[in-house]
Symmetry: C2
Subunit: 343 residues, 2 copies
DNA sequence: CTGTTAGCGCATTCAC
DNA sequence: GTGAATGCGCTAACAG
């Protein structure tokens, strides 16, 4: 029964009421200059005829789409989804929708997605650059053209004109590792992610400086930088790491929840007692850690809030007068260590 | 689109080259009717001037946005994200983007989101109705207006004009429970989700009919229909369920992976051996089950493929001539039981 | 092969 | 208060 019927438009209801399109438009806009009685007539007729405004036409005419483009490196990472939820919530409350795209960890796809955003579909962009993104010219190019932009997670300070939302990765991991040290742990393993990502570099820095503060020498054997971009391979990589250790760690600090869980899983397989023999701390706190047995202690990152904040900053930019120079703002959100059974 | 600098448009490059806008448009379109040499000039100049087509104007003019609207009940459910990934992949390969929205398990929000889709932003819709959605008039209304639509997951057969993508929930759970029975389990608990969802009703039906086939009486005490829509509360609900049992089950069949993990967690807390004393089967197979210790046996649902299939069906609808009657198609995808350590 | 013209649906300026 | 006219940037039908 699907016949694409022509949509009713302003003109249709104008003709029916014998008034002009302009009046109908104003009436629906609740413009006070329109007589109450006509306004009511218009609303009533619009309702009866099943009028539905055309968003595209509105956008073309107004020059804004009320859509925020969000670009994340991958979908299957709860952290990014959580950030998106935060963005979505704030955006929705401010009459914006979000268009999420994934760059699938590829610099090439990142650029392509950005180009399609630039085609006028979105009013502004929130993104987390991929680890492959060394050159940020494409980002600076966009901001210099006046595209409002907010970066989060894998921050690139070099991008001017964009706001930044971040956490203090160095301090967060420093605190976590210090916590382990204060619990008497000395052989603390580190499992990080792709070295190219600033967040992972920073978390490694925090780890090293905690060791340093307590005069614990860095044992390279206990350090793993996961290179996998895929769940499957992360698994294997971590398994191998533990298998080939000659020193047995008494604690493990990992840069994501998932690494933490995989570490615990591997340790449990080899009959290690957690936390008695080995303590484990993850990073993120996205729900998984609470389900595992034992539950995972971790650095709680305010993912949802990061999204909200990013959306807030972007929408603020969108409301700035066009001819003003945007002043870059950087927001650092707080993390905290959430203690559970693994420590 | 709030660009501080004015964007270059067709007119600009037309003027520069002293040709008409139409020719520029056609040239960029690689229309064979335009001379090779002009085409090249146009491309070169467009490049130099940094021309970027305006997607909104294109859409208004062409009547299509090349955007697929996707409406899911919640973001924080890996199943839905996985389906979205599938949709995204297929859509991308066919020159479509996807606009994901969440109805946050609310019928009201579902309707609101659909209305905003109806405003012309999307060419078609893929959705999983919420459990609250009893009346599907709003969906039939949309399809009858000619909006292409595909439903998945919480299918509502009453929706005419929309294609459906599903799995055989009854058979899948029947098979899983039968598997447990054949392993000698007799006191099989059932943990389902919100009763209003057809998928959960069906999985319960499958459970019951397996018991029935093997003459095992249904013990109501061993049945839980989780009502929580929130991770936090699911946790509590399942904990309570096990706490108050007077019969100890020797197996648990759950309707989601997460329930399965929570069940295992609770059982482990009470020192039960898995699978020796209690076997557990989950439903979904979205990665989490592989991380847990022990790993979770589950019904593997082809989530990604569901998304791909849904996108395929929708795009097929989009390419149908407008004046033709759409023939509703229903696709049923295969599931399989993936055995792991919990059984 | 290329130009002219007429929309697409709505907002908005300028009259009256 | 309301209407007529113009423009948003691009596509497409129709000429030539």
């Amino acid at each position: 029964m699907v016949f694409k019927k022509r949509r009713v438009k302003l003109e249709d209801i104008a003709r029916k009421l014998n008034i002009s399109i302009a009046t109908v438009s104003r009436a629906l806009d609740k413009n006070p200059r329109v007589k109450k009685s006509t306004q009511e007539k218009v609303f009533k007729t619009a309702e009866e005829m099943g009028y539905m405004p055309n968003q595209i036409a509105k956008s073309l005419s107004s020059g804004k789409t009320n859509i925020i483009g969000v670009l994340i490196p991958r979908y299957d990472e709860p952290f990014f989804i959580e950030v998106c939820r935060g963005i979505d919530q704030y955006a929705r409350n401010h009459n914006y929708k979000i268009l999420i795209s994934s760059s699938r960890n590829s610099y090439q796809f990142e650029k392509e997605n950005l180009i399609s955003f630039e085609r006028g579909l979105v009013d502004g962009i929130i993104l987390s650059p991929t680890h492959e993104t060394e050159n940020v010219a494409h980002l600076n190019d966009l901001t210099s053209k006046g595209m409002p932009m907010v970066l989060f997670d894998n921050i690139r300070e070099e991008v001017s004109g964009a706001d930044h939302v971040m956490i203090d990765d160095i301090k967060s991991s420093f605190d976590a590792v210090e916590f382990l040290i204060k619990k008497g742990r000395k052989k603390i393993a580190f499992i990080g992610g792709i070295k190219q990502k600033k967040v992972f570099q920073d978390r490694f820095t925090g780890y090293k400086s905690a060791l340093n503060k307590y005069k614990i020498p860095l044992n390279e054997e206990l350090v793993l930088h996961c290179n996998s971009l895929d769940r499957e391979f992360e698994d294997r990589e971590i398994l191998d790491f533990f298998k080939h250790l000659t020193t047995t760690p008494d604690a493990v600090f990992t840069c994501t929840d998932n690494y933490g869980l995989l570490a615990m899983k591997t340790l449990l397989k080899t009959e290690k007692k957690i936390p008695e023999e080995v303590a484990v701390i993850g990073f993120g706190d996205l729900g998984l850690g609470e389900v595992f047995v034992p539950t995972l202690t971790c650095v709680s990152q305010p993912s949802f809030e990061m999204g909200q904040k990013a959306a807030e900053l972007l929408i603020k930019q969108l409301n700035e007068p066009e001819d003003i120079l945007h002043k870059k703002t950087v927001v650092k959100l707080e993390t905290k260590l959430t203690q559970r059974e693994s420590t």
